[in-house]
C-alpha cells in the first residue's frame, strides 16, 4: 500500500461554531434520481466568480449536448456548454438567486433525449479507475478542466483550473477534497460520495497531479459514516486518505476545513494556496474525473431539493439551466405552509422569489422552509450577552461589527476586522435578540470606505 507523504495532522475540528438542526434525514436516503427533461433551459453566461463567458456574435441554431455555446471571457472565467440537445432560442436576461442580472441562452430541448439510465451512467455511473490511472500530463489535466468549464460545485463557483494552474511562487503539496457538506438539509454531496466514490477519488488524484500535490486528503464529517466507508474503500491502494472531521457548522468553510484536516491556518485575507493547499468540493472532483477520463464538460449536477416545505425531498441529477420550478415539482411540489425557497442551504443560501430561476453549476440545493422554521422572536436591543463572540468561527466580535456598520463608524469596523467576516451566519443563528447581524455586517463591508 502506498504511503501518503503528507499526513493529516489536523485535530479534526475548529474552535467555536454551532450545531444547528441538521435536517439531513429528509433527503439523505433518497438515491439520486434523474430529473425529467424540462421544457426549456436557460444557461446563464455567468455561473462562476470572474468574467462572464462570451457567446459568439451569432449563435448556432442547434445546440448539441456537451458542445460549448459560450467561450471563456478571460483567465478567471469558464466556458458554458449546452446541457441538452435542442433548439437555441434568444438570449434573455435572468436574475440569479444572488441578485446578479446576467444574460442567459435559452434552449428548447428536442423530444428525443437520452434515457434517465443513460444520463445517470454518463455522469455518475460506470467504472471510475481510481487506481492505475492512465498517465496524464499535469498541463493536459488543467487544460481539460478549463475546457470543461469546471467551477467549484460547493457553491462558491470559483473556476477550478485557476486553482490547479501551476504557480512556482506558491507550490501546492495537498489537494483537500471537501466532503463536509456542513450546511443543514443538503445531501447532494453525500449522495455523490455514496454513489460515485471512485469517481471522486479519481478526480482528486488527477487534480493532485495537475497541481503538483503529493497528497490527497478527503475530509468528511462524522455524521456521514457510510460516505466515509465508501471513500475509504475507493481510496484503497492510492495516495488518497480520508480524514474524519467533527460534525459542526461551518466545517465545510475553507478556513475551517483546512486547519481541522491539516492543521494549517489560512491567513486572514488569504487563500488555501497560501498554505500549500488546493481545496475542491467532492462534486468538483467528480467533474474533473468526468472531464479528463470521459472528456465530457459540466452539463449536469446533483441538486438536493429538500426542507419541510416540499412534499417529497429528493436528490436530483439535473441539467444546468433547468428551472427551479421543475425541481420543486419533481420533489412533490411546495406544501401549503412553505414560505421561503432558498438556493443552497439555510445558513448561507439566497432566498428566491421566482421559481423560474435556472440551476447553475454552483447550485447545491434548494431548501424550502416553512413558517414554523422561521418563527423568530421579535428583535430586541443588544444586551451584549456575547453569544455571537462565543460562536464566531473566525474569532470576531459580530455585535461590534454590526453596530459599527449600522452607525457607519468605520474606524471601529476596521479595528474589529470587519473584512475578515465570511458571513457564515453563526452569529445571527445564535443571537437571542434576533439582530440581523450578517445583513448589517455585509452592508458594512460593502460600504466600508477604502484605505
Amino acid at each position: 500500500m502506498l504511503e501518503s507523504p503528507v499526513t493529516a495532522p489536523g485535530r479534526g475540528t475548529f474552535t467555536r461554531g454551532i450545531h444547528p438542526f441538521e435536517g439531513k434525514e429528509l433527503a439523505a436516503d433518497a438515491p439520486i434520481e434523474v430529473l425529467p427533461t424540462p421544457k426549456q433551459l436557460l444557461l446563464p453566461v455567468l455561473q462562476h466568480i470572474g468574467a462572464p463567458a462570451k457567446p459568439p456574435p451569432k449563435l448556432d441554431k442547434d445546440a448539441v449536448a456537451g458542445k460549448e455555446i459560450a467561450g471563456p471571457g478571460g483567465f478567471v472565467s469558464a466556458p458554458v456548454h449546452a446541457s441538452v440537445t435542442g433548439k437555441v432560442g434568444k438570449i434573455v436576461r435572468v436574475t440569479l438567486p444572488n441578485g446578479r442580472h446576467v444574460d442567459a441562452v435559452a434552449i428548447t430541448p428536442d423530444p428525443e433525449q437520452p434515457t434517465p439510465d443513460e444520463l445517470y451512467a454518463a455522469v455518475l455511473g460506470g467504472d471510475w479507475p481510481a487506481t492505475d490511472l492512465p498517465e496524464h500530463e499535469p498541463g493536459a489535466i488543467a487544460d481539460a478542466v478549463k475546457r470543461a468549464g469546471i467551477v467549484g460545485m460547493g457553491g462558491a463557483a470559483f473556476p477550478t483550473h485557476v486553482k490547479l494552474a501551476s504557480n512556482p511562487a506558491k507550490p501546492v503539496d495537498v489537494v483537500l477534497v471537501n466532503g463536509c457538506e456542513c450546511e443543514p438539509y443538503l445531501t447532494a454531496d453525500y449522495r455523490v460520495m455514496l454513489e460515485a466514490p471512485r469517481g471522486i477519488v479519481a478526480g482528486a488524484l488527477l487534480a493532485a497531479r495537475a497541481a503538483g500535490a503529493k497528497a490527497v486528503v478527503v475530509a468528511v464529517e462524522t455524521n456521514k459514516p457510510r460516505a466515509i466507508e465508501a471513500l475509504r474503500t475507493a481510496a484503497r491502494g492510492t495516495i488518497a486518505t480520508v480524514k474524519e472531521l467533527e460534525t459542526k457548522y461551518p466545517m465545510g468553510g475553507e478556513k475551517q476545513t483546512v486547519p481541522a484536516a491539516l492543521g494549517r491556518t489560512i491567513p486572514t485575507g488569504g487563500l488555501p494556496l497560501d498554505v500549500g493547499v488546493v481545496v475542491i468540493n467532492v462534486g468538483t472532483a467528480l467533474a474533473i474525473a468526468r472531464a479528463v477520463l470521459r472528456e465530457q464538460p459540466v452539463t449536469h449536477r446533483v441538486v438536493t431539493v429538500t426542507g419541510h416545505g416540499v412534499h417529497a425531498p429528493k436528490n436530483l441529477l439535473v441539467p444546468i439551466g433547468a428551472p427551479y420550478a421543475d425541481l420543486v415539482a419533481a420533489a412533490g411540489g411546495l406544501r401549503k405552509d412553505a414560505v421561503r425557497v432558498v438556493s443552497g442551504g439555510p445558513m448561507m443560501g439566497f432566498a428566491v422569489a421566482d421559481l423560474s430561476v435556472p440551476v447553475t453549476k454552483g447550485t447545491s440545493g434548494i431548501t424550502v422552509l416553512t413558517r414554523s422554521d422561521l418563527a423568530v422572536a421579535e428583535q430586541t436591543a443588544c444586551v451584549r450577552c456575547g453569544r455571537c463572540v462565543d460562536v464566531c468561527p473566525l474569532g470576531l466580535v459580530p455585535t461590534k461589527l454590526a453596530l459599527a456598520a449600522r452607525k457607519s463608524i468605520w474606524d471601529v469596523a476596521r479595528r474589529y476586522h470587519i473584512t475578515a467576516c465570511m458571513e457564515c451566519g453563526c452569529c445571527a443563528y445564535t443571537c437571542p435578540a434576533s439582530i440581523p447581524l450578517v445583513q448589517l455586517i455585509r452592508m458594512g463591508k460593502a460600504r466600508l470606505p477604502r484605505g
Binding site: 406544501r335 443560501g349 463572540v389 458571513e423 443563528y429
Partner: protein, 341 residues
C-alpha cells in the same frame, strides 16, 4: 424573467425573501435569558425569606413593582413603547431588592427602584445602552441619600430577636476585639446582611446554574473570586497583630471574605450583567479580577464594611477601556491592512 413553463404545484404559496441565514436557534431569546436569571435568583430569594421572613418579600416586591412602574413611565416619556415583557426590569427589581437590608423602609426601596431604572437605565437609552449596573445605581443613590436606613448600623436592630439583632459579619470584622461569626452559619446564610447575600451556598447554586446555561459568563465570577482569594490569602500569610490593630479588617480570612458579605451574590448576579461588562472572554476575566481587587481594597481600607457595589460601579466605568484593550485577533491573524500599520 420571461415566461415560465413550470407546472404550478397546488395553489402556489406566496414566497418571501430575506437575507441569510434562514435558520435560527428559536430557543434563545432575550426574554429567555432574563427568565434564566430569575430562576437562578430563586435559591437566594428562598434563603432570604427563610432568614428574614415577610420583610424580604415586602422589600423585593416593592423594588420590583417600582422598577416596572419606572420602566413604564420613563419609556412613555421617551415616546417609545414600554417593553415590560422582556423581563429586564423585573430582573433589576429583584436583584436590587435582594441587595437591601430587611429593615429598609418601603419608600426607600421604592425610590431605589425608580432611580435604578430612570437614572440607571432609561436616560442612557434603555436596554443595552446603560454604562452602569442599574440595580447598583439605585442602591448607591439611596445608600448615600438615606445612609441612616442603609448604613452598617441600620442592619442591626437592637430590640429585634434573632438574626436581625446581630451585627453583619463584615461590620464585626471592623472591631478588632469582636468575635467573628462561625464559618458554617456564614456559608449557609444564617447571619445578618442584605437580603440575598447572606447565604453563599444559595448564591453558588443559582450562580452555577447561570454559568451552566451560559447566561452568565464564568470568566467574571471566576475573576472576582480569584482576585479576592489572592489578596485575602496573601494578607492572611503576612499580616501581623500590629497591622490588625491599625486596620482591623485585615484579619478577615479568605473564607470570611468569600462568605461574610455580598461577594458570591455580586460575583454571580451583579458583575455578570452582560450590558455593563466587557464583550470578550479575556475582557470579562480582567473585569472580574478588577471587581475582586476593588472589593478587597474597599472592605479593608475604606469607611464602608462592604465594597461589592462600589467595586462593580467602578469597573463598569472601565468597561469601554477594557473592550478597547481586548479586541480579539481573528483566526488567521489581523487583516492585512491593519497588520501593515
Amino acid at each position: 424573467m420571461t415566461d415560465t413553463t413550470a407546472p404550478k404545484a397546488e395553489a402556489a404559496p406566496a414566497l418571501e425573501v430575506a437575507p441569510s441565514p434562514h435558520a435560527f436557534d428559536l430557543d434563545l431569546t432575550t426574554r429567555g435569558m432574563m427568565r434564566d436569571v430569575l430562576l437562578a435568583l430563586l435559591p437566594p430569594m428562598a434563603m432570604a425569606i427563610y432568614t428574614f421572613g415577610w420583610l424580604a418579600v415586602l422589600v423585593v416586591t416593592v423594588t420590583t413593582a417600582s422598577c416596572l412602574a419606572a420602566e413604564e413611565l420613563f419609556e412613555r416619556l421617551r415616546g417609545s413603547p414600554a417593553k415590560l415583557g422582556d423581563l429586564s426590569a423585573v430582573v433589576t427589581g429583584v436583584i436590587l431588592g435582594l441587595t437591601l437590608p430587611a429593615t429598609c423602609p418601603w419608600w426607600v426601596a421604592m425610590i431605589a427602584g425608580f432611580v435604578a431604572i430612570g437614572i440607571g437605565k432609561t436616560v442612557f437609552g434603555s436596554l443595552g445602552q446603560n454604562v452602569f449596573n442599574p440595580a447598583m445605581v439605585g442602591r448607591a443613590f439611596v445608600m448615600i441619600s438615606f445612609s441612616k436606613f442603609l448604613g452598617a448600623p441600620a442592619y442591626q436592630v437592637a430590640d429585634a430577636a434573632g438574626i436581625l439583632s446581630q451585627a453583619t459579619p463584615l461590620t464585626v470584622a471592623r472591631d478588632a476585639n469582636a468575635v467573628m461569626p462561625e464559618l458554617w452559619p456564614m456559608f449557609l446564610g444564617t447571619v445578618n446582611g442584605s437580603l440575598g447575600e447572606t447565604s453563599a451556598l444559595a448564591c453558588l447554586l443559582g450562580g452555577l446554574y447561570l454559568c451552566a446555561r451560559r447566561t452568565a459568563s464564568w470568566e467574571i465570577p471566576f475573576g472576582v473570586i480569584t482576585a479576592v482569594v489572592l489578596f485575602a490569602g496573601l494578607t492572611q500569610l503576612v499580616v501581623t497583630p500590629t497591622a490588625i490593630a491599625a486596620v482591623p479588617a485585615l484579619r478577615l480570612t479568605v473564607f470570611e471574605h468569600l462568605t461574610g458579605g455580598a461577594l458570591v451574590f455580586g460575583a454571580f448576579y451583579i458583575a455578570t450583567d452582560p450590558v455593563t461588562s466587557p464583550i470578550t472572554g479575556r475582557g470579562k476575566l480582567y473585569f472580574g479580577l478588577g471587581v475582586g481587587a476593588f472589593v478587597w481594597l474597599i472592605r479593608t481600607f475604606s469607611g464602608y464594611p462592604e465594597g461589592v457595589m462600589f467595586a462593580v460601579l467602578l469597573m463598569n466605568a472601565l468597561v469601554p477601556l477594557i473592550n478597547r484593550g481586548t479586541v480579539p485577533v481573528p483566526v488567521g491573524g489581523p487583516t492585512p491592512a491593519l497588520a501593515k500599520k
